[in-house]
């Protein structure tokens, strides 16, 4: 039904056109009742903004005429800073981009550097990387699963999320030493092998995550109010999503079957696993929540498979002590918790990268928000922003 409407108009102006038509009709009926618009400033500090995003919305009554996100409150200039850091030092910076799923941030950069150096990490290191990558995803998305309910007024879910996320974070911490900023990847492998007993504990924590997912399925997805507030709200047609470069669950929630873990040629161990990419055809806020919930559950099975199939051997390849990356350019993109994240690394054969372009998922995911928020009602702003799921550090870099 949505696609039919969109076929008639210029897709980028769909909401706008409908709104203008409605306004023009109103104006014709009764000119003297014309109301003056109001500007609503949301943020920079607001629970729905996951950090310091500011949104200036122009309203007419309850309806949003235009909404504009204002970023930069947390811009740290990482692209400039990488130019004065050596390659091993860069991982410390990029850990702080998406701070809830940090381990995943390191991986594409390290892979890009390894590609230029023509180094490949040993199989065991790739398995450990993949397992921690997926655990980072679980920890990240669990926060979303609880947080989305909070945005809609259901406070309970977030407590379950925080409680059960600890089981995963504890495992990440016991392997890497850091709950949020592991800094565990090295060019050529990972820093250490897994500690004794870790595999068993991790498997039991994965069971707890699955229990949490079941709980969310009842508590949130099955909730009538949640459905009423999410279904049909913030619909993103697939072609618009593509033009804005949306990725991750936001794209899969619009029915596009694309996951870089399956589709990209990666040295990580995803290709050895038996798993499924979840999509949902609706493209609304509900479908984005639903896809993420299924992905979290799927990721727990992936972690278990990785731990069962963990190959023996070293966790570091032979790399020089002082790392100089040969001149060249490489671009590596992986399916991070928030969506596709890529690093374009230009090296001139020196200790520091010459230029690093960081392509983050949230930047593109949020760039659709002015289009998406046009014409919606005020309470839906929170729903839509929460369902797009961004981390401010991932927008501002």
């Amino acid at each position: 039904m949505t696609t039919d409407i969109n076929a008639e108009f210029d897709i980028t102006n769909n909401e706008q056109l409908r709104y203008i038509a409605a306004q023009a009709a109103d104006a014709r009926v009764n000119v003297e009742l014309e109301t003056e618009g109001m500007t609503l400033n949301i943020g920079p500090q607001h629970p729905a903004t996951h950090g310091t995003l500011r949104i200036v919305a122009r309203l007419d009554g309850e309806q949003v005429i235009s909404a504009e996100p204002i970023m930069g409150y947390m811009h740290r200039g990482y692209e400039k800073l990488t130019e004065v850091r050596t390659y091993p030092q860069v991982t410390t910076l990029i850990n702080r981009i998406d701070w809830v799923g940090s381990f995943a941030n390191e991986v594409p950069f390290i892979l890009a550097a390894e590609e230029l150096m023509e180094v490949e990490a040993p199989p065991r290191a790739q398995y450990i990387r993949t397992a921690l990558f997926e655990m980072g995803r679980i920890a990240n998305i669990m926060l979303f699963l609880g947080d989305m309910a909070v945005q809609l007024g259901g406070v309970t879910a977030i407590f379950y999320a925080f409680r059960d996320r600890e089981f995963v974070l504890n495992q990440i911490e016991s392997a890497t030493g850091g709950r949020f900023h592991p800094n565990f990847n090295r060019i050529g492998g990972v820093k250490d092998d897994l500690p004794a007993g870790w595999i068993k504990e991790t498997k039991s924590s994965m069971q707890k995550v699955r229990d949490f997912c079941d709980e969310m399925e009842d508590l949130v997805v099955g909730n009538e109010i949640f459905q009423a507030r999410c279904r049909g709200v913030g619909i993103i047609p697939a072609d618009v999503a593509m033009a804005y470069g949306l990725s991750g669950a936001n794209l899969r929630g619009s029915g596009v079957d694309w996951d870089l873990r399956r589709d990209a040629d990666s040295p990580l161990a995803w290709k050895d696993l038996d798993w499924k990419v979840w999509t949902h055809p609706d493209g609304d806020s509900f479908s984005r929540y639903w896809v993420r919930l299924q992905e979290t559950r799927e990721a727990t099975y992936m972690v278990e498979q990785l731990l069962d199939g963990l190959p023996a051997g070293p966790v570091m390849a032979k790399v020089p002590r002082i790392i100089k990356v040969p001149a060249g350019e490489s671009y590596v993109q992986t399916e991070n918790p928030l969506g596709a994240m890529g690093y374009y690394v230009v090296s001139k054969g020196e200790l520091t990268p010459f230029r690093v372009k960081i392509r983050t998922a949230s930047f593109s995911n949020m760039s659709i928000s002015p289009w998406l928020l046009e014409g919606v009602l005020v309470p839906d702003i929170a729903t839509i922003l929460a369902s797009l799921y961004f981390i401010l550090g991932d927008i501002d870099r």
């Binding site: 970023m71 692209e79 400039k80 004065v84 593509m242 593109s364």
Partner: protein, 235 residues
């Protein structure tokens, strides 16, 4: 996992050709004619093409409509000017460990990366086809003194934020952009931070500490401090 033998095979294949990416590069060359300047293929990995700046929008439209590359990855730019500040703000220990010295970079010439180039600024665009699982990097040389490029908003609606970032960070004018305002930087900010000649002020003000960066532990030199204070008090 791959064995040594398998690795060898991969390398041999890679040295021969990457037919799919060759075909895409050829499609661009046929479409753009003289505006297609250069190409570079990392077999099995990636494809770069360099086009004339006048064909920037044409190349993107062609990729979207004819090659199915409907997913906008990112738009950015590269400043190829060698860093004029060199490493003179590095700590002395770093010169010892990593080699080099304060004036290492004086004689360096400007070089461009894969797919070549003749100018300081290059625009960089990546598009991706979700059906074919293949992407392309498109580069375009920009005028050094007044870098400018056409907007891609009519082709990809999501280009707007990327182009605003490119404009503020590199000072590249986006011709036809309807809303060219700062994205990250504060209003009224002067300079374009990602240009190589824009100094990283924090680094200029305070030299990088280098590998030896250990502050004295509290209590480690308490005695010395204590004596000094006592001495002053006595005087």
């Amino acid at each position: 996992m791959s064995t040594t033998a398998a690795d060898d095979t991969v390398v041999e294949e890679a040295e021969v050709t990457d037919a799919v990416r060759e075909a895409i590069a050829k499609a661009f060359a046929d479409e753009l004619g003289d505006a297609f300047l250069d190409q570079h293929i990392t077999p099995g990995r990636d494809l770069w093409i360099r086009v004339d700046a006048t064909a920037w929008v044409q190349a993107a439209t062609f990729a979207r409509d004819k090659l199915g590359m409907t997913w906008l990855d990112y738009i950015s730019a590269i400043d190829w000017l060698p860093n004029p500040y060199g490493r003179e703000m590095d700590a002395e220990q770093d010169w010892v460990v990593h080699g080099g010295g304060p004036n290492d970079k004086d004689a360096e010439e400007m070089t461009s990366g894969v797919a070549g180039g003749h100018t300081r600024f290059q625009a960089l665009l990546r598009l991706y086809s979700i059906e074919e699982q293949i992407g392309v990097h498109i580069k375009a040389d920009l005028d050094d003194s007044a870098p400018a490029i056409d907007t891609l908003i009519p082709v990809f609606a999501g280009a707007t934020w990327h182009e605003r970032e490119m404009w503020e960070m590199f000072g590249i004018n986006i011709i036809g952009h309807p809303d060219l305002r700062v994205l990250y930087l504060p209003t009224g900010f002067e300079g374009n931070p990602l240009r190589k000649d824009y100094p990283l002020v924090s680094r200029r003000v305070k030299p990088w500490p280098g590998i030896v960066d250990v502050e004295a532990m509290p209590g480690a030199d308490d005695d010395a401090d204590g004596e000094a204070t006592d001495g002053e008090a006595n005087e």
